[in-house]
Symmetry: C2
Subunit: 233 residues, 2 copies
Amino acid sequence: MPAPRNPLACDACPVRDRAACSALEPNQRDDLQRIGRHVWLRRGETLFHAGEEAPACATLISGALKISSLDEQGTERILSLVHPAGFVGEMFAPVAHHDVIAIADSELCVFPSDQYGAVVDRYPRLAKALLRRSSEDLFASRELIDLMGRRTALQRVAGFLKAMAEAASTSPCHPANRFELPLSRGEMAGMLGLTIETVSRQLTKLERDEVIGREGPRGIQLKDAARLEATAA
Amino acid sequence: MPAPRNPLACDACPVRDRAACSALEPNQRDDLQRIGRHVWLRRGETLFHAGEEAPACATLISGALKISSLDEQGTERILSLVHPAGFVGEMFAPVAHHDVIAIADSELCVFPSDQYGAVVDRYPRLAKALLRRSSEDLFASRELIDLMGRRTALQRVAGFLKAMAEAASTSPCHPANRFELPLSRGEMAGMLGLTIETVSRQLTKLERDEVIGREGPRGIQLKDAARLEATAA
DNA sequence: CGTTGGTTTGATGGAGATCAAGCCTCGTGG
DNA sequence: CCACGAGGCTTGATCTCCATCAAACCAACG
């Protein structure tokens, strides 16, 4: 894990008013600054390895992460995506449950779990902020379960695009109508429980039906948000 | 929602040392007793309705719950199961996201979310306990995602049985070798993203292969735990 | 150029959904 | 007591969707 050590510049942090630590007063944040490290990851580098002993947790400042596990055939299952201001890591388990890997160049604040836990004990508002994030993660996770359970490939891909359009947009509830997929076809397949080929076919189908347009392999433009929503069912 | 009002008997509570509230000192628990209601649900009765306004949260004392949503064709998707000492409900969202329904006769402590939140603010240890529960739920949820993603029907059913055997056992990490399924075939299907018929077929296959035995429609006995684990992959 | 990694497209086969009966248990009423 | 029906479960036959195998495509890069 590459780890240049740097002072955390909370004042200039792009997620300073959305991340869990935003619940703290500036002087209280000093306690976190003291124990945290600023870390940069390049696309593909891994933050935590499943099974790894030394537990840590982190707030994502910019970029994107995936939480994934490898089954015994070596195929990757993506369990969750992490967006800026998101929080990852186990505060309680002695070992990391899953791999956490950057899917875009990323910037994070990383903390040793036990020391972070101590700060949480000191500041209840931080605990509540983490609880809120955790609840949101839980909800997102259940949405993914919903998406994967007994739906057609087309519905899954459409639902995934809808979710990505919403995540890409800054304003909530209004999907961006032009965005870049953070995932490769293989990663999308691993997330939706499909194969690369099927994902590709459904995308071309959505394009033929003029629900979306494509710009390069990862660029998506939303042509008919209503119909996308409808086919996601 | 049927709701007989009763004093909460924390001292005699079967989950008093496992539930979130066990993090509190006896006198601190009084604050919860003051705002909580003791509720009994019969199998099939619903605790929260998706979309419902008045948000509440609850600790399950005995029995079992399912968290589920209905898609537009009216088929149920089960997103999670809740076991005794589990915590359900939204402390932050203004509306309930999913249905919460008893799958066995159940006993709960129900609290209005805002008042519970106020108690959480007062006692950081409660916040941390809830955070731990939430993390565990998140982990369980990701296990389910893992289970549903591109696995065969047989693997899903085997994996589900394994999880139920572990949940039924009192001692952790040692599966019970004889237990009752808390779910009907239809509910299992809704949880695993399969159909009733497929679930049934996989169960009979596991029985033919002498991995499990059956006693009535819901009784399961574990004949070969190792092979069950292996077929779950 | 050739090579490499990601993507698309085509042809085929199989796992599981769907449709359709039977079966078993239990509760109800004659 | 038996008949009856209703739910839930099992079993069988067929069909569909998607995984699999295979090849072509395309851009980036040495």
